[in-house]
């Protein structure tokens, strides 16, 4: 048996070396990543302090145990001290030991309490930049409340992200350095949790609640994290990427985003009648980003949790029923109401779903129809 253990270990070791040689990762993470914000640094310090205290305690306990295991053995002929529990130590240890432990406890709690107050209370009397972070199954929405822009952030499939898979997104959360930012956390469906280790904290996103956290980034760079609260099937596919940039670059990015938003709004509100090809092209892009996580790019879904759209009653039946389920969602399932999308976007998606994957209903749904169905 010990031979077997050694063998398994050497197999594991060989595989490990192979993994390194293959460059599976640049470095082995064994501790928190380098903090990127003031509060994160303080959290890091609290973590290191408690870990040091815990390590010292562990060494003391283990040393006593090992000493006793070595010296107080029958095989060494050590006679058992039958009266040990009746010594002064036996009579008073129930006071001494809790006293010592209480001292350690208060040291830890005391140092943590100061940091806690600082991170828990949002700085008062100054203007903070507000970013609303909304968790969805399975993507993040970032709303810059002061700038009137909204970003949707989704994971990037492996063939496009390579080694950054599950740590890469299509649209990162762009934030300026040296600016106090207030995050407002909530969820559109089930519980999620916002966790970017370099920012130092984690906060749950719970529907019906809006929770606050704050941070001030102190350096530029890309900081990654991911959803930390089990949120269903694709919990693993909710990465978070914070792109920390200088305030100047941030302003430029904001201007760009506002222009994109204006252009999209102009397109959506035009009275134009769209051709089937235009809608299909738009619809395919939208479907693949917003719907394919559940219903799959092939339209075959993942039954029974996520029904197929290919040949489904909804996608090939009356248009009104199809629109109804897209706009209002389905109670008791992961299908959420998609009424935040524009009429044009819904028209494109529904048109695509009714004609793709050999559904071939030939239906073309115009934005005006969607507007009427709302």
């Amino acid at each position: 048996m010990p031979g077997l253990m050694k063998m398994t270990k050497s197999v594991a070791l060989a595989a490990l070396l192979a993994a390194w040689a293959g460059g599976a990762s640049a470095e082995l993470g064994v501790n928190f990543p380098q903090p990127a914000a003031g509060v994160a640094q303080e959290i890091y310090d609290v973590h290191m302090l408690t870990m040091k205290i815990a390590t010292i305690l562990m060494i003391i306990v283990f040393a006593v145990l090992i000493y006793s295991l070595y010296y107080h053995r029958k095989s060494r002929g050590y006679p058992a001290d039958q009266k040990f529990h009746e010594t002064w130590f036996g009579n008073w240890s129930w006071v001494i030991v809790p006293g010592l432990v209480l001292g350690v406890d208060l040291t830890i709690a005391g140092s943590a309490q100061k940091t806690l107050e600082k991170i828990w209370v949002i700085p008062k009397g100054e203007k903070l930049m507000d970013v609303k972070v909304v968790g969805h199954q399975w993507w993040w929405e970032f709303e810059y409340l002061d700038h009137g822009i909204k970003i949707e952030s989704r994971y990037v499939p492996k063939d496009q992200s390579g080694d950054k898979y599950l740590r890469a997104v299509d649209n990162p959360l762009v934030l300026p350095t040296h600016t106090k930012i207030r995050f407002l956390h909530t969820s559109a469906d089930v519980n999620h949790a916002f966790w970017v280790p370099a920012l130092g904290f984690k906060k749950d996103a719970i529907s019906g609640y809006v929770m606050e956290t704050w941070a001030e980034l102190d350096r530029e760079g890309e900081f990654t994290g991911q959803c930390a609260e089990l949120c269903g099937t694709w919990h693993s596919r909710m990465p978070l990427v914070v792109a920390s940039v200088s305030p100047e670059k941030f302003q430029e990015w904001v201007r760009q985003q506002q222009q994109v938003k204006l252009a999209a709004a102009a397109e959506a509100s035009s009275d134009k009648t769209w051709s089937k090809d235009e809608l299909m092209e738009k619809g395919q892009g939208l479907y693949n980003t917003k719907c394919a996580a559940c219903h799959q790019i092939t339209g075959q879904g993942l039954p029974p949790a996520f029904p197929a759209l290919k040949g489904s009653k909804v996608a090939t039946g009356p248009i009104a029923d199809h629109l109804n389920i897209v706009l209002n969602g389905k109670q008791g399932t992961a299908m959420q109401p998609w009424n935040a999308l524009t009429d044009l976007e819904i028209a494109a998606i529904v048109t695509y779903e009714r004609n793709a994957w050999e559904n071939n209903t030939g239906d073309v749904v115009q934005p005006a129809t969607v507007k009427a169905a709302r």
Binding site: M51, F84, A109, W195, Y209, A228
Partner: protein
């Protein structure tokens, strides 16, 4: 004492167990029911272990190779529920059934028919639990349970009918636990041999008294919580639905009001086993009997009012998190005192290291380590990083494997000769200990690093930066999982035969259970034994 033993030796002749299936189905005998509890727990240990091994196989390397995401989450849910409700709690109840009457000099449990009921509810509950796992694989079975054992809404409101099976399984398991707890409390309060005061009872009996009270206090809260979930799912209520004016966080409070004391429910009986084993193999009296009793009562009281340390990130107020932080850290005082008393029992003893003692010493090392990471987790600012990461997974396995499961293993090796009348194979037992404990550490130690580096728990797929430690952890898990087959072999081998065990079995063993022959007669202590003063 020996005359009493002889007396019921005679009775035994014309009052043996009934034959065949009836012996087990209609059993009111604490030993038979204890045996059934233990066999049930062992079966469930393998079911829960198989699901854990599937989880670790999937996590061997990045990517989706073996499982679908929902099946993975289903296994995560199932592993926890089977291990907690199917393996650890019934095994501890099995030890209680076997040992409490023997230790306090009672002829049987106080309520033998209820004892039968509380056991036979379990197979029904286990069936419901397993159905909740397999129903989605049948046509029309709905989606799988992908919530984890915490069952947080709104996610649990999205799951198909398997969630309803699970809710009823939890109800049944809860009823079984409460019945068993009532029985244990009544037995301990009423059936002690004349002259045995509460403060004369073995610590194992004490731990079960405290555990039974804890169960009766907290299991109904879980039952209430899952019933509200059931109503939300089917009867249009909105207890946990924000859109209907409800509160998803309420369920978390109800769940953890049960869930945190549950940790002590799992650990305390095993700590009671340690209090029997360590003095035996140290050949000196238990150190700090009174402070052990005081500690466990303190653990029960404080343990019931610190539940929200599982929920630091839900947006509690500053006052609330400060309270829950200090409350949680304070628990280290009674727990630390218990560990201290065990070390002090070993100190200046004359120790020998048979398998039960090996496990006991292993527990002291590993549980101390797990307890210290627990103190780290109690610290709110740092926990904002640790929470829901693999660090938590590593922590609670370091607490629950040594604290609960290894304690049960130790108890099984310690009392198996008493139950069967045969000595187990000491050499195989030692091999099992070393393989088990080393592979346990290979499995769970690297998970601390994963968590600190940013890997959340309950994810089926991960970035390549987490490859190495996951690989090591999975290799350890395969060895760890398979090592339990050796335990099964040792147990079966011991039941079938082996060196005849003496009544005392262990050189340093003290207590009423060792006054009876090994194995004890079907009906023992029909006349109350005299306490040696």
């Amino acid at each position: 004492m020996s005359t009493a033993t002889l007396a019921h030796g005679h009775e035994h002749d014309h009052h043996g167990p009934p034959k065949g299936l009836k012996r087990w189905l209609f059993s009111t005998n604490h030993k038979d029911i204890g045996t059934m509890y233990l066999i049930f727990a062992l079966t469930m240990l393998f079911a829960g272990g198989a699901s854990a091994m599937l989880i670790r196989m999937e996590l061997f390397i990045p990517g989706l190779q073996l499982l679908e995401p929902d099946l993975y989450n289903n296994l995560v849910t199932n592993h926890a529920l089977i291990m907690i409700f199917g393996a650890v709690m019934p095994a501890a109840a099995g030890l209680a059934n076997w040992m409490i009457p023997l230790m306090i000099g009672a002829p049987d449990m106080a309520l033998p028919r209820m004892n039968n009921l509380s056991f036979w509810i379990l197979p029904a509950a286990a069936t419901m639990l397993i159905l909740s796992f397999v129903v989605p694989f049948f046509p029309g079975g709905g989606s799988q349970i992908n919530t984890g054992w915490t069952l947080y809404p709104p996610l649990s409101l999205q799951v198909g009918m398997s969630m309803d099976f699970l809710i009823f399984a939890i109800h049944l398991l809860g009823i079984s636990s409460i019945l068993a707890s009532i029985n244990i409390i009544v037995t301990i309060f009423n059936m002690r041999t004349p002259g045995m005061r509460l403060m004369d009872m073995p610590i194992f009996v004490w731990t079960w008294l405290v555990t039974a009270f804890l169960l009766i206090l907290v299991v109904p809260v879980l039952a209430g919580g899952v019933t509200m979930l059931l109503f939300d799912r089917h009867f249009g209520t909105s207890f946990f639905n924000a859109a209907g004016g409800g509160d998803p966080v309420l369920f978390q409070h109800l769940f953890w009001f049960f869930g945190h004391p549950e940790v002590y429910i799992l650990i305390l009986p095993s700590f009671g086993v340690l209090a029997a084993i360590i003095p035996t193999f140290s050949r000196k009296p238990l150190f700090g009997y009174k402070s052990l009793v005081g500690s466990m009562i303190a653990i029960m009281c404080i343990g019931m009012v610190v539940w929200a340390h599982h929920q630091y990130t839900i947006g509690l107020s500053l006052g609330a998190v400060s309270y829950f932080m200090i409350g949680t850290i304070i628990i280290s005082i009674p727990v630390g005192l218990m560990v201290f008393n065990y070390i002090a029992t070993m100190w200046r003893g004359s120790m020998s290291f048979e398998v039960p003692m090996l496990f006991a010493v292993g527990i002291l090392f590993m549980f101390t380590f797990g307890g210290l990471t627990g103190v780290m987790l109690a610290v709110v600012p740092a926990d904002m990083q640790y929470q829901d990461s693999m660090f938590v997974v590593a922590h609670f396995h370091y607490v629950l494997m040594p604290g609960a499961v290894f304690g049960l293993f130790a108890g099984i090796f310690y009392w198996l000769p008493k139950w069967t009348g045969h000595m187990y194979d000491e050499k195989l037992g030692k091999i099992f200990f070393w393989v088990n404990v080393i592979s346990f550490n290979i499995t769970f130690f690297p998970q601390h690093f994963l968590g600190l580096a940013g890997m959340p728990r309950r994810i089926i797929d991960y970035n390549v930066m987490f490859t190495e430690f996951n690989f090591v952890s999975s290799v350890g898990a395969m060895v760890f999982g398979l090592s339990h087959l050796l335990l099964l072999y040792i147990v079966i081998k011991t039941i079938r035969g082996g060196k005849q065990a003496s009544a005392r079995v262990w050189e340093g063993a003290k207590g009423l259970e060792w006054e009876l022959p090994s194995p004890p007669p079907f009906h023992s202590w029909t006349t109350a034994p005299q306490l040696a003063k």
